[in-house]
């Protein structure tokens, strides 16, 4: 049985003016780590809220753990863990007080499910008397995860848990998710960071309320239809201008330290491109073939 099923979900806001979700369908298997990848405004949060029984879809249906999100919302609320995108704990309560409170909310105690949160809680323990509002971004998210896990949920909804978190904490956070998955918890996680996509079992690429593609990270990359090169030179901006001016350039985007380039006829245009850049850019530059990243795939799909 699939842990999460979404079936042709539609949702709009402001009387239909803003279409948040358009025909969203996907399935998440038991104890799968499923990622929703997409920029802000893609509809990820709306989708989370519908699955977490906080919003009703206009049409289509969805189920979590075999329970309908509309009819059986009370049962679903007992067995899912939900971590909203915004930090949603009590800022004026301490780490320990927050945890204890949420343990009470779910009718359990910290000790009962300590094995699940042990790894994170040990990192939080030195600060357990500190007010939640005074924690760093990474610590806040770890505490929020603890609170969402305290009742050993069967499905975990994490809406952008790593946004605004430092790289080290992000890495630790994802390791935690892998551990939870191995414990049999189904996890639906969203992120705007493309590099985190490769850490999921499967991902759905979302944009403007639509799912562009669903596959394993490797599968998505393999589907990438074109050859891709990375180009690099001291004057990156001039290089971008020249590369884009080449008539047979398909796309050229800045990707941090290098530009990712695709050509209309792939290898056939390669020589011509190099010559063109040499004549126009005049200074030496580097070009090398690379494998596509999820971000390249996203750009190609959107």
């Amino acid at each position: 049985m699939n842990a999460i099923i979404a079936n042709h979900l539609f949702k709009s806001f402001e009387k239909g003016k803003i279409k948040a979700l358009e025909d969203i369908s996907f399935e998440v298997k038991q104890s799968e780590l499923f990622g929703l990848i997409g920029p802000d405004g893609a509809g990820k949060t709306t989708l989370f809220r519908i699955l977490a029984t906080l919003l009703l879809a206009e049409s289509g249906d969805a189920s979590v753990d075999g329970l309908d999100v509309k009819k059986d919302y009370k049962a679903i609320r007992k067995r899912v863990g939900y971590m909203p995108g915004k930090f949603s704990l009590y800022q004026d309560l301490s780490v320990e007080e927050n945890l204890n409170f949420f343990a009470h909310v779910f009718g359990t105690t910290i000790e009962q499910n300590y094995h699940l949160i042990k790894d994170i809680y040990q990192q939080l323990e030195p600060f357990k008397t500190r007010k939640a509002g005074k924690l760093s971004g990474g610590m806040k998210q770890k505490l929020a995860l603890c609170c969402a896990l305290i009742h050993e949920p069967s499905v975990l909804f994490l809406d952008e848990p790593t946004t605004g978190v430092d790289p080290v904490s992000r890495k630790e956070f994802w390791e935690m998710l892998k551990y939870l998955k191995s414990e049999g918890i189904t996890i639906l996680v969203s992120t705007p960071y493309m590099d985190e996509a490769s850490l999921c079992d499967r991902v759905a690429l979302m944009q403007k309320g639509k799912i562009l593609d669903i596959d394993t990270p490797v599968g998505i990359i393999e589907k990438y239809p074109k050859k891709i090169w990375s180009i690099h030179a001291p004057n990156m901006y001039a290089l971008l201008q020249v590369a884009r001016a080449f008539p047979n350039t398909h796309t050229c985007f800045g990707f941090g330290e290098s530009h990712h380039l695709t050509l209309k006829n792939d290898d056939e245009d390669y020589q011509a491109f190099c010559q063109y850049v040499q004549t126009h850019y005049k200074e030496p530059f580097q070009i090398q073939e690379i494998t596509a990243t999820i971000e390249d795939c996203f750009m190609a799909l959107s």
Partner: protein, 368 residues
């Protein structure tokens, strides 16, 4: 039960850790009582007056002494010409001028009639009327003193008794008003803000996606405020009895019971406000606009309702604080029993049930 306690404990921690809330909770009643008790009063005390005495005889001197001796007046200046009176009014030095004509005593005792001119600054009409009345009554008591020696054939002597408040103290009116205002503000505004804060911070979202029945979240929000409001009622009563000498004429138990009823009505109103607003600012503005202003205007505490046009009188019936104000006035000041405030109490009960029902109907188990 453990869950219930966990929520209440959490709520108390929120309140006790927020200095701003604490100041509003405990500072406001005290400040209000002291403000209304000593600073904002419509009693006219120590008004400065000026005298223009053309007569300077025994009788005029006697009256001037009486005026000066009363707690309402201070003789500020003795003038020698009408121009000086004019000047003093323009400078705002005096509120009232008393002019004695020449041969005042002579005409009083020989011709049995004498006139005194009272000139008041009516740019503030209420004060002007009040000071003229005070002055007239002092003149009248002098006249009675003099007339005691001889009798006129026909006189009507009105005997006036000011019931319930013989000294005409303003405090008798504003203590019930302040109680209504503070209980409404604390119970309704603070609860609605506390609930809306959870919505705003997103914690409501997390609590919704949990097995906790939403009604528990709401009810536990209100309970600490019941207790705090009750402490406030006690503070106000202690202050008014000891500091302002306003006695509790009726049954204290009845007064406290009726206050509890009003606290519940205000809490229900707060719940209702919290279900229709999504941000703390809106909740606060809504509370102030819907609660504070109407309480001030329509409860009869500042402006008499009888003087209002009919539509306004009708609106005043919808304001819960009006009924509570009547109850407190009847029980605390007039010393009446439960029977005489039965109607008001029933109206409050009906309002409470009404607000709770609307709030429950509006309450969302989802985000929209």
């Amino acid at each position: 039960m453990k869950l219930f306690l966990a929520f209440i404990t959490k709520e108390f921690k929120h309140i006790l850790r927020d200095t701003r809330t604490l100041i509003i909770l405990f500072g406001m009643p005290i400040v209000q009582i002291i403000l209304f008790g000593f600073a904002l009063t419509n009693e006219v005390k120590d008004s400065r007056i000026g005298i223009l005495d053309y007569s300077k005889d025994q009788a005029s001197q006697h009256i001037i002494q009486e005026l000066d001796a009363s707690r309402y007046f201070d003789v500020e200046a003795n003038f020698s010409s009408p121009q000086q009176i004019d000047q003093a009014f323009k400078e705002g030095r005096i509120r009232l001028a008393v002019v004695f004509p020449a041969h005042f005593r002579h005409s009083l005792f020989q011709q049995n009639t004498a006139s005194i001119q009272l000139i008041a600054d009516a740019s503030d009409p209420n004060t002007a009327t009040t000071v003229v009345n005070y002055a007239s009554s002092i003149l009248k008591s002098y006249q009675d003193e003099v007339l005691g020696e001889q009798t006129l054939p026909y006189t009507i002597q009105p005997e006036i008794r000011m019931l319930y408040n013989p000294q005409l103290k303003g405090a008798y009116n504003f203590v019930p008003g302040v109680m209504a205002m503070i209980l409404l503000l604390i119970s309704a505004m603070m609860t609605s803000i506390a609930i809306v804060r959870e919505k705003e911070l997103g914690t409501m979202e997390v609590l919704l996606v949990s097995p906790v029945p939403p009604i528990l979240v709401i009810v536990t929000k209100a309970i600490p405020y019941v207790l705090l409001s009750f402490i406030n009622v006690s503070t106000i009563l202690i202050l008014s009895v000891n500091l302002l000498d306003v006695p509790i004429q009726g049954s204290l138990l009845l007064l406290l019971g009726e206050s509890m009823l009003f606290i519940f009505a205000a809490l229900a109103l707060g719940l209702f406000i919290s279900t229709i607003t999504n941000s703390q600012q809106v909740a606060m503005l809504a509370s102030l606009m819907v609660l504070l202003l109407p309480t001030l205007i329509f409860s009869g505490f500042m402006f008499p309702i009888e003087n209002m046009p009919k539509p306004m009188q009708f609106i005043s019936n919808l304001i819960p604080s009006k009924w509570y104000f009547f109850i407190v006035r009847d029980v605390m000041i007039k010393g009446l029993g439960f029977k005489s405030v039965l109607k008001e109490s029933l109206i409050l009960v009906a309002m409470t049930i009404g607000f709770v029902l609307i709030a429950l109907k509006n309450y969302k188990t989802r985000l929209e």
